[in-house]
């Protein structure tokens, strides 16, 4: 139990470091969009494990992001906690064996998350055509990029879940 906890933290820090040194060659689109590896991890974890664990993972991942490149410590931790809880809500209600469903959750989750982040960071989304720009060049491209990457991560996580532990189906009765 404690080992799993420790491994998660190491993994989150590793993801954070890769996220902040993400090579420019893989930044696509007009606005040079990179995916959000930490967010993918939070959403998939919450999807597989529910609101409580998802919330904790979201908090931790957000906190790591705060310490690495954040301005106000606790900012991304709080938002991570929120998205973890929110996505975790789907854990007992949606069939998890379907990769397409997971991808859709990532897509919608990213849109929701980045929209909230933009608002809370003070981007004036509601003046002029800022909202359109934000969605067209930043939020949607990132959601698509995240979805593509999540396919791989989903396959890995699903495999781990089946191989080493309780079958995902059992989470429904927790």
């Amino acid at each position: 139990m404690k080992v799993k906890f420790f491994i998660s933290i190491i993994l989150i820090i590793l993801l954070g470091v890769v996220q902040t040194t993400f090579p420019k060659t893989f930044e696509f689109g007009y606005a040079g969009i990179k995916p959000n590896l930490l967010l993918i991890f939070i959403i998939l974890s919450a999807f597989f494990k529910g609101s409580y664990k998802g919330g904790i993972i979201g908090f931790t991942a957000g906190l790591v992001q705060d310490f690495l490149t954040g301005r106000i410590i606790g900012f991304y931790a709080l938002i991570g906690l929120g998205i973890g809880i929110l996505v975790g809500w789907t854990n007992s209600r949606i069939y998890k064996e379907n990769i397409i469903i997971a991808t859709i959750i990532i897509f919608i989750g990213t849109i929701f998350y980045e929209f909230s982040v933009a608002l809370l960071l003070g981007m004036k989304l509601f003046s002029g055509d800022n909202l359109l720009y934000a969605f067209k060049f930043i939020i949607f491209p990132e959601a698509i990029y995240n979805s593509i990457i999540s396919v791989i991560v989903y396959l890995v996580m699903n495999y781990i879940n089946k191989r080493f532990k309780k079958v995902p189906v059992r989470d429904m009765y927790n």
Binding site: G16, V17, F22, P23, I33, I56, A118
Partner: protein, 273 residues
Amino acid sequence: MKIFKNKTISIILLVVVAVLLMLFTFSDRLGLSSIDISGFVVKPVQSLLSNISSRFGSTTNVFKENKILQEERDKLKTQISQLETDIAGLEGFKSRMTELENSLQLKEQFNDFNFLTTDIIAKDAGNWSINYVINKGSNDGIRKDNVVVVDKGLVGKVIWAGTNTSKIQAIIDPDSNVSARISSNRSLVEVSGEFKYKDRGYCILNYIDKDINVSINDYIETSGLQGSTYPKGLLIGKVIQIESINAEPGRYAVIEPIVDFSKLEQVFVLTQK
């Protein structure tokens, strides 16, 4: 995990912790600079990864001919930027001829600083901010609000100085505001980052007074007014576009910074002697 028996209480606890952390960051009381995750655990890994990332970028050029053309192009670019800097210098000098005394003060101002060379080891994790982490911190004399430059122009300022690493905010970050002047007519303006323009590496002149003359190719430099973070006379960039809007004050200008933020690897921090 067994300590947290009630799940709801644990979640509420986390919320409280997060809010407290944010408040402490604001009032700077906890001295969270001592918790330097970047410096202690991550800096070596980040430095290594940054190295690999930049090498990966340059090895995608397979053909040698490409490389030769690239080198030539880079040489020409350096020449052009040198010429641009010369032009900017000349324009500023023209109007500053009657303020010889101020020019002398300017020289003395830069003598007060050390130029500290640092490498960028990380960029902001998200797609909304233009912030960087550099590999030196308070141990090397860096303090919050230190100005960051490259040899040509202004990059930004230090927003957090840890023991071994620091975080800097670029002038094109949406949160950044720099008090500035138009070099030719000395009008006071403000250079701000804007989230629509940051991706192309540009920023804007917002809230331009009605009676100020702004034209394309005007050079913008820091104003160095009393109490402002940035010393006087640092080159920021030049105007490349003027847009009109419906709200007051009717227009804004797009600035192309002297610094190419897409190619930043090494920056200088101006620290106090």
